[in-house]
């Protein structure tokens, strides 16, 4: 309404093309303040990232003698070789096992629970839902001591399973929250017509709800996956031998071990980040929407 008033009737067709239409011209005055802060912030974000990439390619001897922001004079992959030789492949495999081993079961059992909460009735299921949602308020740090005790008593200390089980538990509350909201949006008639065809709940779970919920399942899986992949506290507390380390823990001990060899340390940082950066490049939109799962709107 207002835009036709400002631009005149002859341009009213342009209102419908959002990019360069009259809607754009209303806000075309540049946002200097936002632009300034954004450029500043962009520099703050990119400078350390640029620095770790170029430094990881420098020779250790050059590192002390050259300008830290100049590209390497004699670029080398020695640092990466050193990192890989320090059994980073092993840590990478550990991280993959922990992330996949926790994320896939977490999403599947949360999905089953979310389906039951939405489709089942009675008094029990809503209160179970309340119990799961309460989990959103439990900080991992606060319960890590009893988790450690439980893991010891189960004779699982210093195994990857010790990291996987609590990671599943902490992924459940948010997964259920997001998935119940999504399953609620599935029209009830779809379930009814399937029921008339004689389908069981179990069948509807996997053949109706599962395909329709797939985008939410991916979103939740990405969110959980990133948190588990980057997790530090559980591996720190629940494992001890070097060959059980996950990548963040390996990074930490590596940096303690080679504290003066800065190029090697930053090479390890780059190397552990590459898999996620690759995922980011492949599915940026999915990843970002995964990150705000449950917080948006």
């Amino acid at each position: 309404m207002t835009s036709t008033l400002t631009t005149g009737a002859h341009e009213s067709g342009a209102v419908r093309t959002p990019r360069r239409g009259s809607g754009g011209s209303v806000r075309s005055r540049p946002n200097w303040l936002g632009g300034l802060f954004s450029c500043l912030w962009l520099a703050i974000v990119l400078v350390p990232i640029y620095w770790i990439v170029i430094t990881s390619l420098k020779q250790q001897s050059d590192y002390f003698t050259t300008n830290p922001f100049a590209p390497p004079v004699n670029p080398t992959l020695d640092n990466y070789q050193l990192v890989i030789a320090s059994s980073f492949v092993r840590y990478f495999v550990n991280s993959v096992i922990v992330t996949v081993g926790a994320d896939v079961p977490a999403v599947l059992i949360s999905f089953m629970a979310a389906f039951a909460i939405v489709r089942g009735g009675g008094r029990l299921l809503p209160s179970l839902n309340g119990l799961f949602l309460m989990g959103l308020a439990i900080p991992q740090q606060a319960v890590v001591i009893p988790v450690y005790l439980i893991i010891i008593r189960l004779h699982m200390y210093d195994s990857l399973l010790a990291i996987i089980l609590p990671s599943i538990a902490f992924a459940i509350p948010l997964s259920i929250l997001v998935l119940t909201n999504f399953i609620r949006d599935i029209p009830g008639e779809l379930f009814e017509s399937m029921r008339l065809d004689g389908a069981s709940d179990w069948h509807m779970l996997w053949h109706l709800a599962f395909p329709l919920t797939r985008p939410a399942l991916v979103t939740v899986a990405i969110y959980n996956g990133l948190i588990i992949w980057n997790g530090f506290l559980l591996p720190l507390v629940l494992t001890q031998s070097p060959d059980r380390r996950t990548l963040p823990l390996a990074l930490w001990s590596f940096s303690g071990q080679y504290s003066i060899n800065v190029p090697a340390i930053v090479a390890s940082v780059v190397l552990t980040t590459l898999p996620i950066l690759a995922l980011y490049a492949l599915g940026r939109r999915q990843l970002l929407s995964g990150l705000t799962a449950g917080f948006g709107k």
């Binding site: 039951a116 606060a142 009893p146 940096s255």
Partner: protein, 307 residues
């Protein structure tokens, strides 16, 4: 976000189809329920029980009444840890909120170059706290880091060796890590503000700053509360980053509550007092969450009155 989400998003979930097959589906929640109870609910009760025992982390657990609590409450380390925690929370809120709003609103624009900005902005979200801390530790090293390399004395401070500077560095690095996340939340919020509101304001001759304060900020009220809750709880439980960056040091300058708990429990082997700290951590977190929900409720009320 170390595994903690805001209680503020809790919806009041109405069960959709009032059931004909009441409870017959309950078994489907069993796998999730078992893992969740074993590794989240039981530990939550367990930490309270453990705070009334003494345990060195390996040997037998013996009940010890209130000794852990009296030792923790009498320890001057506790008020110090609480104070450092509050400073970290307050300053990270003050740094992150205005910047995230400005950046989020800016990248909410549909211009293509802003999209490119956004792609680069979000990179810190992908890095682990350990990776970020290690990078900054190397970058800020007084002998081998940025200041030494550039020969700028101002940058050549002993960043992590002086208490006040180290606390500042912690807040800077926490902000560096999380501002992208909060910008993302504000970007989503800002995109939902109806454009017609800005057009009307434009007609009335309102400038950009005026629009920011009269339209954008009031419309983002809920987003601000959600994001603030996440900032507060995130800073309260910030562990990985501070642990790798400073280990609580120098001295105890950056020893926040979560770190205090870890050090007492897993380094000094005093699991009883560490559990008492953990209980305090849970209570402070719950207190903040309830306060934020209360703020949210008030915001909802005033919006209704305004309508």
């Amino acid at each position: 976000m170390t595994g903690l989400a805001p209680p503020i998003v809790l919806p009041t979930a109405p069960p959709v189809s009032r059931a004909r097959r009441s409870g017959s589906l309950a078994w489907m929640t069993l796998p999730a329920l078992i893992v969740f109870i074993a590794f989240a609910v039981v530990p939550l009760g367990g930490v309270v029980l453990l705070s009334f025992t003494s345990w060195d982390g390996i040997g037998a657990i013996t009940p010890s009444g209130l000794t852990s609590w009296t030792s923790v409450l009498a320890d001057p380390g506790l008020p110090h840890a609480l104070w450092v925690t509050f400073v970290v929370i307050a300053l990270s809120w003050l740094v992150q909120t205005p910047l995230s709003i400005l950046i989020g609103v800016f990248i909410a624009g549909r211009q293509r170059y802003r999209g490119l900005f956004a792609v680069l902005f979000f990179i810190p979200l992908l890095l682990s706290s350990a990776a970020i801390s290690i990078t900054y530790k190397a970058l800020l090293d007084p002998n081998f880091g940025l200041g030494a390399g550039l020969g700028i004395p101002l940058l050549q401070q002993d960043w992590l060796g002086r208490g006040d500077l180290a606390l500042g560095v912690v807040i800077f690095v926490v902000s560096w890590q999380y501002i992208p996340f909060h910008s993302l939340i504000y970007q989503g919020g800002a995109r939902q503000i109806p454009r017609s509101m800005y057009e009307a304001a434009e007609l009335d001759g309102a400038g950009r700053v005026r629009q920011l304060f009269s339209i954008t900020l009031p419309q983002l009220k809920y987003t601000i509360i959600t994001s603030s809750t996440l900032i507060v709880i995130g800073s309260l439980t910030a562990f990985d980053l501070i642990f790798v960056l400073t280990e609580g040091g120098p001295g105890d300058a950056t020893r926040v509550l979560a770190l205090d708990m870890y050090k007492r429990g897993f380094q000094a082997n005093l699991m009883g007092p560490a559990s008492a700290i953990a209980v305090i951590l849970v209570c402070v977190g719950l207190g903040f969450s309830l306060f934020m929900r209360w703020l949210g409720g008030n915001a909802a009320k005033s919006q209704l009155e305004g309508a």
